[in-house]
């Protein structure tokens, strides 16, 4: 049993009060290990809410440095940290918020030869990167290792997210492979309303805490999409695809690989 000290009793009192979380749920949160892929727009609110909740270990993978243009939405970072690695900036934000949280940083672009050893160490993965190669790589690695994850994508005013657990619909079931070059505005060209990443990130943080505590129903075999212009939220049922290249009946992907993305182009590279 977890031995709560007086500060923790106060800090987590609102979780302890919840019937569906309670002391046991808070213990699970304090023992949980969550990996955040991306410490940007989505990763920022996820990192802050999971740190506030007391998630025991937060891993953060990001190879970027804080840029002034990030600060319109990436709320874990601040003006003083422009030019510093995002993982260091995020670590400071987390430790200021809650010293209970152990932070592990990976100042790297996750690739097929490194991702498995990192993912293995965690109970749950939150994917909030800004590029398709990473999203597919995280999906493939998590499916192969049997790790649950929450995936999120943002475009301008819109967001979409779903949660995967072993056996449920995966990213590749839904999207097969990265979109052809030029069909989807990627990188930074599209623009994004700052607060919209917060909507998505807080949904993903909530899914993470639901997974850890076992509360409610996850967004599995579903895709949640929303448009902040109208505030329409829509939940679609999407069953696993039997022909999925990684989780289907006859998977063709047996080893992890990287898609190449140069500037805003995506090229199959296997």
């Amino acid at each position: 049993m977890y031995d709560f000290n007086e500060e923790q009793i106060q800090r987590y009192s609102r979780h302890i009060l919840l019937k569906d979380v309670g002391v046991e749920g808070q213990e699970k949160i304090l023992n949980a290990k969550v990996l955040l892929v991306g410490a940007g727009g989505i990763g920022s609110p996820v990192a802050l809410y999971l740190a506030a909740a007391g998630v025991g270990t937060l891993g953060i993978a990001d190879n970027d440095v804080v840029d002034l243009s990030n600060l319109q939405r990436q709320i874990a970072h601040n003006t003083q940290n422009v030019g510093r690695p995002k993982v260091d900036s995020a670590r400071e934000a987390i430790q200021r918020l809650n010293p209970d949280v152990k932070v592990k940083t990976y100042n790297d672009f996750l690739l097929s030869d490194t991702i498995a050893d990192i993912v293995k160490e965690y109970d749950f993965v939150v994917e909030g990167s800004d590029n398709f190669p990473t999203k597919f790589l995280v999906n493939d690695a998590c499916v192969m290792l049997g790790k649950p994850y929450s995936m999120g994508s943002i475009n301008q005013f819109e967001g979409q997210t779903f949660t995967h657990i072993p056996g449920s619909t995966c990213y590749r079931c839904m999207f097969k492979e990265p979109p052809a070059e030029g069909t989807v505005p990627t990188c930074s060209q599209a623009g994004v309303l700052g607060s919209v990443v917060g909507i998505l990130g807080t949904i993903q943080a909530t899914e993470t805490l639901k997974y850890i505590t076992g509360v409610g129903e996850l967004l599995i075999n579903k895709l949640l999409t929303f448009d902040a212009r109208t505030m329409n939220f829509m939940k679609m049922n999407i069953a696993p695809r039997k022909t999925c290249e990684i989780c289907g009946n006859e998977p063709t992907i047996k080893e992890l690989f990287d898609y190449e993305q140069t500037a805003c182009k995506i090229i199959r590279h296997s």
């Binding site: 049993m1 709560f4 009793i9 106060q10 009192s13 302890i16 009060l17 019937k19 309670g22 002391v23 046991e24």
Partner: protein
């Protein structure tokens, strides 16, 4: 086993937090005797504990404004 807890000097919502914490350290079937004060605590804690799925066996006045609530886990 019978455990005791004094929350007469606690305020809402820590009255309920302390009670839940103590219950979490007990085994099923154990009894918790909680001393609580009239007013806020007496009005809210027994009903909240019931809503959380615990069995409140009795609530009775001990002396002055102090009451004793018996909970079975």
């Amino acid at each position: 086993m019978v455990y005791t807890l004094d929350i007469t000097h606690e305020h809402c919502p820590m009255t309920l937090v302390r009670t839940k914490l103590k219950l979490s350290q007990m085994a099923k079937g154990d009894i918790l005797e909680v001393l609580l004060s009239e007013g806020e605590a007496l009005n809210s804690v027994p009903s909240a504990i019931k809503e959380q799925g615990f069995n409140v066996i009795s609530v009775e006045r001990v002396e002055g404004s102090t009451h004793k609530m018996m909970i079975e886990k």
